[in-house]
């Protein structure tokens, strides 16, 4: 259903904004959706397992800034990427550990780690960010970029590869089935001998890893480093998951739906921008949208059902 919605929306935008239907706009749409889509993998999986990851914006910002800094300081791109992604993964593993082993509320844990990371960025950079990014990265996220023989920007191709990998993980691997079990009923999963700590740490580790990838890609996008570049991704990733139709109760849905959700959310943003709404107004709109969707098909059962 959401995929149909995505396609339908495309035509709606077409109508509302004259001159929209050209190759450039389509590529731009795909590009923006790719960035959101990659960032939303983590949000999807953490929601499936029954938590949230509110530290995604912070990790995006961190990796964004670090990449420009390190590359600008003379590190090779490869070394920088490896280091940054390793760091991001470690943060994710720590989040997962805190949520599961220490039994802390995932919402608040990731809120806390996100806040700490932001603080660390500000403290480390003293509010000044400088650095540079390699040209090939800029091409990857540019609308006119191509990936070898494929007439699509590198980021989009990357998204396709990541999507395939995640879908495979969900359906065909032991870890994937464990993730769904853990989200469906944590206590039952634990009793069914699912290694809960391993699963939680893997999910959050993966989430932070991909947030890091998104952060690095975004460095190519804006050309300069910006710690707050990830801020918008807090509610857009949640929106992408919710719009896609993955229930917040866990154990159901999955990344396939988020792919469609990312497309829809990106289209909506484009539509809103095209209609003249500024960032603030977009935020209001997205807020209402998330609530409305959850109210439609994600409601909690009435307490009488639990007696």
């Amino acid at each position: 259903m959401p995929l149909g919605l995505a396609i339908a929306l495309f035509f709606v935008i077409n109508v509302l904004i004259p001159g929209y239907a050209n190759l450039n706009s389509l590529l731009s749409l795909l590009l923006l959706s790719s960035l959101l889509g990659i960032a939303a993998v983590g949000q999807t999986l953490t929601i499936v397992i029954g938590g949230f990851d509110l530290s995604i914006p912070a990790v995006i910002g961190l990796c964004n800034v670090l990449f420009s800094l390190l590359y600008g300081a003379g590190w090779s791109a490869l070394a920088a990427i490896i280091f940054i992604l390793a760091l991001a993964t470690l943060i994710g593993l720590a989040n997962g550990f805190a949520c599961r082993y220490l039994q802390l509320n995932p919402l608040v844990v990731t809120l806390a780690s996100g806040s700490t990371i932001f603080g660390a960025i500000w403290a480390g950079t003293h509010g000044e960010v400088a650095g540079s990014v390699p040209d090939w990265l800029v091409t990857m996220v540019s609308v006119i970029g191509k990936t070898g023989p494929i007439p699509l920007p590198g980021a989009v191709v990357l998204w396709v590869v990541v999507s395939a990998a995640i879908l495979f993980l969900e359906q065909r691997t032991v870890l994937g089935r464990w993730i769904f079990a853990a989200g469906a009923n944590p206590r039952a999963a634990e009793l069914a001998r699912v290694p809960m700590l391993f699963v939680w740490m893997s999910v959050y580790g993966l989430s932070a890893f991909l947030a890091g990838v998104a952060g690095i890609l975004l460095a190519g996008f804006s050309g300069a480093a910006d710690p707050t570049v990830g801020a918008a991704y807090l509610f857009t990733t949640v929106a992408a998951v919710v719009v896609g139709g993955t229930p917040l109760t866990g154990g159901r849905g999955g990344y396939g739906r988020t792919i469609a959700g990312s497309l829809v959310v990106t289209e909506l943003s484009t539509l809103l921008v095209g209609l003249g709404l500024d960032q603030a107004a977009q935020q209001i709109f997205l807020g209402f949208l998330i609530v409305a969707l959850v109210a439609l098909y994600g409601r909690e059962p009435h307490v009488s059902m639990r007696v």
Binding site: L102, Q103, L104, V294
Partner: protein, 321 residues
Amino acid sequence: MDWITGRRYAWPILVALVIFAILNAAASPAFTDSGNWNGMLIGAAPFIITAMAQTAVVMSGDGGVDLSVGPLAGLVNALIASVLVPHGWTDPFSIVGATLLVGVASGLLNGIMVAVVRVQPIIATLGTYLAYQGITLEMMPMAGGQAPDWLVSLANSRGGIPGVLVLLVALGIAWLAFERTAFRRNLLAVGGDARAAYASGVNVAAVRIIAYVIGGILAAIAGLVFTAALGSGDPRVGVPYTLSSIAAVALGGVALSGGRGGMLGSAAAGALLFLIQTLFTLAQVSIFYIQIMYGVILFLALTLNAAGERARRARMGEQTA
């Protein structure tokens, strides 16, 4: 004294509060200067009041949380500075009336979404968080505006008694009175085990809605208070109070899953957070590190909170096998 012994959950935080007060006094002799107290109180007040707002909501259980606490306070601030005052509605009735109205409306909105429509609290209040922030930025994209004189003067002492202190005491008394009603029992029951409360005949939805309304009113009052302190409007001041209110609740011995705790602990924790921030400023630590500090404190608070929960549950579980 009975009301202290009856609130054992708050002891650790009260002790911590005293320790930090001492540390602050040691770091700067000006701390104990009575002239300074007013400034201290008005700085601490929003922390305390937003903590109280969050407490009511968290206690209602089933994932109860109010992310919109900070943005609502900010919204009130923007409303006063950029709408009410420029349009000439500067008298106390209008200002306070508008504040309370906004608080109640927000509480009803959040409460109905959670209790009637049955959207998860984090999503419902994430929606209002975004909405209020957006509205605030629309009303007042830049800092500016002017708060009414009588409000600013409240931030100063009158006859040796800080206006803010009167407010805090008034809130404290109001809450104590409210606690003597059946509401406290109902709130604890709904937060602790909603189906047990429901099967026993408690109106679970009504109790939850009231909890969110209390949260809304208190958050709005917090906005009023820092408007008095600032003297003007600033769209970015409100948002951080969401995080601090949650940290205060976790620190204050309130169970994040609901059904345990109360206002005393979180109010003290709010004050504690303020003292910690002051300490950092006095020690001339860069403001950037304060963000890190918040994260770490929140993390520690959560760990202690969760460890306490686990110990209690283990002890209770002993009885039913």
